[in-house]
């Protein structure tokens, strides 16, 4: 289980570095502020499950940037400096190395999310709110998965290239495409087909399915379905039937591709 050794090392390195520490404190602060504001501006009833719908938009804005920040330096920085040669002189496989780096970095983010959510839960419940434990647990787990997805995308970018700068550029491009471009393109397509008078049929379904295929939409759909309300939102593509495999795909897909590429390429 050498991935644990690698994960522990990265956990420690991340907590010792200044920028990740600022990001973690910022994340906890954002979640706590959202929980402080929610009972004031939210409508009755004040519950931890409805807080999920309130905070998911905030998290969608913050988690991708922090996840990418945590991930992009995982492999490429050491590839560029030469420390990767030292890392791979130990009895670790390359897949184990990438996996360990991912687990260590995603673990730090998960711990910060849990801390932030515990504080947020207390702020929502005290003095007049209600705790819905299972749904709140679902919110925490989905947020952890969403954060890990973005760490994975950052780590994948890092394993696919050879310099830290290339990794940063690739990760930021992925962030930009998946967070901003995806929504803009699908919203534009939707507006286009509405303007063309297409209100039903396969073309509209394809566009609406496409709008659910980015990690942020999948996260929001799952939060709505599992942490806020168990009522069906309507079409199959607006519910967990599509969102769950999409989020799992983004969690493991980029990382798996990067591991396969990293495993077989020359590192001289």
């Amino acid at each position: 289980m050498t991935w644990r050794v690698i994960a522990r090392r990265d956990w420690r390195l991340l907590l010792d570095a200044r920028l990740p520490k600022i990001a973690l404190v910022g994340l906890i602060a954002v979640v706590s502020i959202a929980a402080y504001v929610y009972p004031v501006i939210g409508t009755e009833p004040i519950t931890t499950s409805r807080f999920g719908a309130f905070v998911s938009g905030w998290l969608e804005g913050v988690l991708p940037a922090i996840g990418v920040l945590f991930g992009y330096g995982a492999i490429a920085r050491e590839h560029e400096s030469g420390a990767l040669r030292l890392a791979l002189s130990m009895p670790h496989g390359r897949s184990t190395l990438v996996l360990g780096r991912f687990v260590g970095r995603a673990g730090v983010l998960a711990a910060a999310i849990v801390v932030g959510m515990v504080i947020a839960g207390a702020l929502v419940v005290y003095p007049l709110g209600t705790l819905h434990p299972l749904r709140f647990l679902a919110l925490v787990l989905l947020t952890v998965a969403h954060g890990a997805t973005w760490v994975g995308i950052g780590v994948a970018a890092s394993a696919l290239v050879t310099t830290n700068r290339q990794a940063l550029v690739l990760a930021v491009v992925a962030l930009f495409v998946l967070v901003i471009v995806w929504d803009a393109v699908t919203a534009g397509a939707e507006a286009g087909i509405v303007a063309a008078g297409i209100t039903d049929g396969p073309i509209r379904t394809v566009v609406q399915v496409g709008a659910q295929l980015d990690p942020g939409s999948a996260f929001e759909t799952l939060v709505t379905a599992l942490a806020v309300s168990d009522q069906s939102a309507g079409a199959w593509y607006d519910g967990p039937a599509l969102a769950l495999p999409v989020l799992i795909g983004w969690l493991f897909g980029p990382l798996s591709v990067a591991i396969l590429r990293f495993k077989w390429r020359d590192l001289a």
């Binding site: 050498t2 522990r8 090392r9 390195l13 040669r85 791979l88 002189s89 009895p91 020359d266 001289a268």
Partner: protein, 303 residues
Amino acid sequence: MTVLSATNLSKRYSDVLALDRVDLDVEAGETFGFLGPNGAGKSTFIDILLGFVAPSDGTMSVFGHDCQDDGVAVRERVGVLPEGYAPFDGLSGRQHVEYAIQSKDVDENPVDVLSRVGLRDDAARPATDYSKGMRQRLALAMALVGEPDLLVLDEPTTGLDPNGAAEMRTILREETDRGATIFFSSHVLEQVEAVCDRVGILQNGRLIATDTISGLRDAIGGGTKLVITPAAVDDDALDAVRRIDGVETAVERDGAIEATCTNDAKMDALVELHDAGVEVVNFRTEEASLEDMFVEFTGGARV
């Protein structure tokens, strides 16, 4: 028992053939020196051994494990001092050794390991602040963790002062005394000559000689070096010596002619110089050094 075995090993980088059908066996308990000029393919060979790059053709195995398919099993028994490495950002020297101890899943005291390589007093400092020599010591410390059966050292004395190099030699002798095999790549021929039982010479990706140092000496005709000090050295005098049967090389160095030759050719060289009208002020014979043999085998290339 064969520890390391390379069979028909080749590596091509686009249009450059870095290794060309190399066959090599290293036996248990020996200290093997790997020599070659820059760009000869030494680092490529070690990169394949460590699984950093895949061969274009052929195979390499260590303790019977294929270096590509079973690299983790190889590195579980190998301590590595890689060339061109950098320490991890943010970790002290002690934390580096602790990482090696945890990675190899052994129970050792990091302070003892660091003391052995002379880094005990600097254990708490960030390793990125270490000098080049200290970094070499640190990598050696990490390589020594877990008493590996094979030590692979790529240019281990780089950055070390003479005392540091001597300390490294002492450690290597201690390692061979406990039964470890050492694969030692270096461009410092004196280091290789001082510690190695057997030597391989690599040139342009081809392994052109593999033997003990005395075996290499025999291969170049007894390995005698004749150092002649004439009144004046000119090209005619050098050519006169080079023409003699049994003379392998003849070069001018510091006003003297240095010729590697068979024992029988020694007197012929002196007679030839006399006949050519060259006044010989002094002469002596020496055993050919590894450098002389290296020059002989590689046709003049320098490490």
